[in-house]
Subunit: 328 residues, 2 copies
Amino acid sequence: MTDDASTPTTPATPAPESITTIACVGIGTIGGGWAAYFLARGYRVQAWDPSPEAGNRVRRLIDAAWPALTQLGLSENADPENISVHTDLAEALDGAQFVQESAPEVLEMKQQLLADIDAHAADGVVIASSTSGYSMTEMAVQAANPERLVVGHPFNPPYLIPLVEVVGGEATDPAAVQWASQWYEHLGKSVITMDREVPGFIANRLQEALWREALHMVDNGEATVEQIDRSITDGPGLRWPLQGPMLTFHLAGGPGGMAHMLDHFGPSLKSPWTRLEAPELTDELRESVVAGCDEEAAGRSVPDLVAERDRAIIAVRQVIDQLRRDAA
Amino acid sequence: MTDDASTPTTPATPAPESITTIACVGIGTIGGGWAAYFLARGYRVQAWDPSPEAGNRVRRLIDAAWPALTQLGLSENADPENISVHTDLAEALDGAQFVQESAPEVLEMKQQLLADIDAHAADGVVIASSTSGYSMTEMAVQAANPERLVVGHPFNPPYLIPLVEVVGGEATDPAAVQWASQWYEHLGKSVITMDREVPGFIANRLQEALWREALHMVDNGEATVEQIDRSITDGPGLRWPLQGPMLTFHLAGGPGGMAHMLDHFGPSLKSPWTRLEAPELTDELRESVVAGCDEEAAGRSVPDLVAERDRAIIAVRQVIDQLRRDAA
């Protein structure tokens, strides 16, 4: 599109680096956690919440989070007091250049609230929802301008866990998805941009599979709650902060990596090691997984990755052991 | 049973603290990792492996692991050279007071090897298998004395990951299971003793559910390998070294903990957030999970656990960030 003055122009979405003021709509555990994070990054926060308790609650949450945020490093202008709490939505949205909605997971509430936010937010402002379960396609149905509505799904606590999953609905402008991804990256987040809606996004699907298998085991008396937790904290959980499940199995294949692992252990996908049926290990799936691991490894050999893993496990164990001693 | 001299007595299993010599049967990645761990704990290791390469390979593995083991703290008498490698099984088992079998995951090979070990090991010596997939009931069929055969399933690398899952087969003497659990605890391991055989034990079932869901997502083009790994490393993987999946959801419930979480988010078990169907959330299952979390929390309130979690996430993030900077 040219800069022709006769062309109707879309109102400009502010450049991420020009943003100073953010609206947090809903300030429970997740919304309040976002508010703490935005404050630590030096932004002004205007919060909306219908509860008369919300102001005190978010104050306590920010005070509790601030030492952690300080330890991780505050941005210039970071000020835990730079927040106002409103019961009037229009007031909270006045002047906001980005909106993070974190209302309870009730579809009708989200639909109404996103429509109200859309009605009050300045033109061009992108509106993100923290929803962990709904698609933007189903949440955006009442909004007049669904093209600027995106999912920006954080992990609890949003002020410490870097991951944010970004995805639009059917009516979302791809430019809004791209803008939101750039904005969260500018904020210092680890962003995963999905090109289509999948129920539960990515991390929650993985977590949910594990959680459901755990519930089955408790239900059948196969394991206790404590055994399930310890099987993760003292087992694979020590590897996962550095290397995810894919790279973990890349290393399990020895020097031959994921290719060897799939060729050798592929048959175990037929084993009844979980209630979840595995997909057929086609040549195409094998190639996707092997190529993806090679790409992630980025030239590092399996022994290189083993050495990195070992350093990480030692360091993580020392950190956790020390924290447990301190707590005892 | 009384100490009546006329009663046939079972040969005594050595007390864990009296053990000095261990046989490692099979010294690939897992068996060699066990050997490194036993050496670091001050034991004499007698290894058996049919491969002429095995001696050099295990030497390289021990040399690579030793700095890590040194950093975690060596026991008195720890000596990386205190190992002999044999191609004759009887030689490797001569004088061994405990046997750790880590042969390839081929059922017929395990059956034959466990029978051979049983034939050569001194009476009363407990024999553990590192198998990640077979039950002792199916592996023990050829052994003359199946009562002393147990599964002692480690996680890779066995010299750094504390978890060991212990379970017997149908013919295993419960005393051997109990002895193996005490022995691994004496060694400094985090032991989970299962009272019945479940395919894949506990941690692998949880890991396998996650892995299969990940394969489905790659297969359907819903996520890339890199996105799957990052969704864990930068997301829930940062919480799991301190708090497992159960305690994680205990905290997701706010001050009401797991009880509130199940009452509030129970319906999401019906959501298509993974291909794995959840069990019915009966009152009984709800009570088991809530009681298990209360027991694990051991008097710590949800805010206490949140504070512990936040300290752990910060420390783990700092450790991982530093390792990534060092590697770059």
